[in-house]
Amino acid sequence: MLEVININTYYGDFKAIDNVSIKINEGDFITVIGPNGHGKSTLLKTICGLIYPKNGIIRLDNTKIVGLPPHKIVEMGLVYVPEGRNLFPEMTVMENLILGAYNKNARKKESKSLEFVFNLFPRLSERKKQLASTLSGGEARMLAIGRGLMSNAKILAIDEPSLGLAPNLRAEVFNKIGQINEAGITILMVEQTIVEAIHLIRRFYLMEDGKIVFEGTEKEALASEHVKQAFLGI
């Protein structure tokens, strides 16, 4: 479904992504783990067309997407959920969600998507008339994910969903992402530690210094001392 082949991304002279390849099948739940500042977010942004790689191939459903403007990539169903949330602060929860369905494929399914989002996050339904800037950290995170779902996402690329959340909320957010995955949406998630979510994830990548240094299933991840200690927190 999504193939990333040997991409390199630079910030000026600094090589942030070093020859990275990733393959995602339909329905997968993939997580890229790794320490802060080692290129995980850059990888997601590159895949979603917000940063251009210097070279390499990215294919979505067999179409090359490198160089396409971000809104074309969203239209194809690959949707980024940013770590910084990037909500529209002076708009209501409802307006934020409606704008999620901006592309023409998503507009047709707007009411259906809205129902799905409100079922998943009843809290957003209660707060739909509230300004996004007045939401708590957890609610804002849910709105960012909900807005991504409104875009008729086939693949949701989620950047550190648990960042800055209390432990009980982290588990809740991971559970919701698990439910989204069960509903048939492919998940590509980036995280620093994912101990609460380990049972949900099908395949792990470990990224260090812009390189993928480990790739494998939960079992293989647990078998590697390096992965286990540093990133699974076990």
């Binding site: 917000l50 809104h71 969203v74 940013p82 990037n86 002076e90 901006y102």
Partner: protein, 292 residues
Amino acid sequence: MSGWLRSLIEVVIGGIEAGGIYILMAVGLSLLYGVTKIFNYSYGSLLTIGGYFTWIIISMVAGINYGIAIIIVLPIMFFIGLGIERVIVFPLRRRTNWEINVVIATLGLALVINSLILIVFGPLIKTLPPIIEGNIKVGGFVFSIYRLTVLGITIIIMIILRLFLTKTKIGMAMRAVSQDSLGAQIVGIPINRLFSYTFAISTVLAAISGIFLGSTYFLAPEGGWLFFVRAFIIVALGGIGSLGGAFIAALILGIVEGFVSWQFGAIWVMPAWFLVLMIILIIRPKGLFGVR
């Protein structure tokens, strides 16, 4: 009622009428900066050519209806705005440090437009006829029907703009871009297209203001600068990007203008405007209604 109080009320009425003429010009500048972060130095010149285009249609076509002339001019200005954004601003925006480059490019464009106006229309000032004439007296105070009409048209356009920004997908997308442009890209808003539309709408608002100002004051090849400076002060006072702020600030500065002209003479109007702006910015650095 004492004579002084009566004069003061007249000054306030006159000030609101004068401020009303400035509202749309400030709203157009504020909308453009709020959404696109483009600071358009050619804004005053675009405003001026809006006025000149209307003038030439009215002068050349005998007996043409004012409204029809305006209906011809506004779409032309829309496409001029669209063209300027596509040809001049867009290529610069793809590079780093584009903000300062766009300032220089639009400043250059202003000089070119002003020279073209001088070549085509000559150095003599032009005045547009008022849209409507006459005065009405209410409670012993005289109101200019023309200026009240301008204020009325302005309020109607502000309401339409408000509905456009809150009820339509494109309008909502414009607000989205102004609040978080990365967020807007993420939800799939084609932000380059939005920039062009916003520039075009801003140019149309400039042209409407050009017609108001050309019939209140006059049009001259370099005349756009004065209006541009005024628009800038109003926008900064109201809070950059806030359309309601521009509305209130224009009325406040209109009253300041009336009061200062009455007490100290018209040459002190601009210093007084700057003084008011500086005092407000010391108290509220983001302007009266600014959020950023």
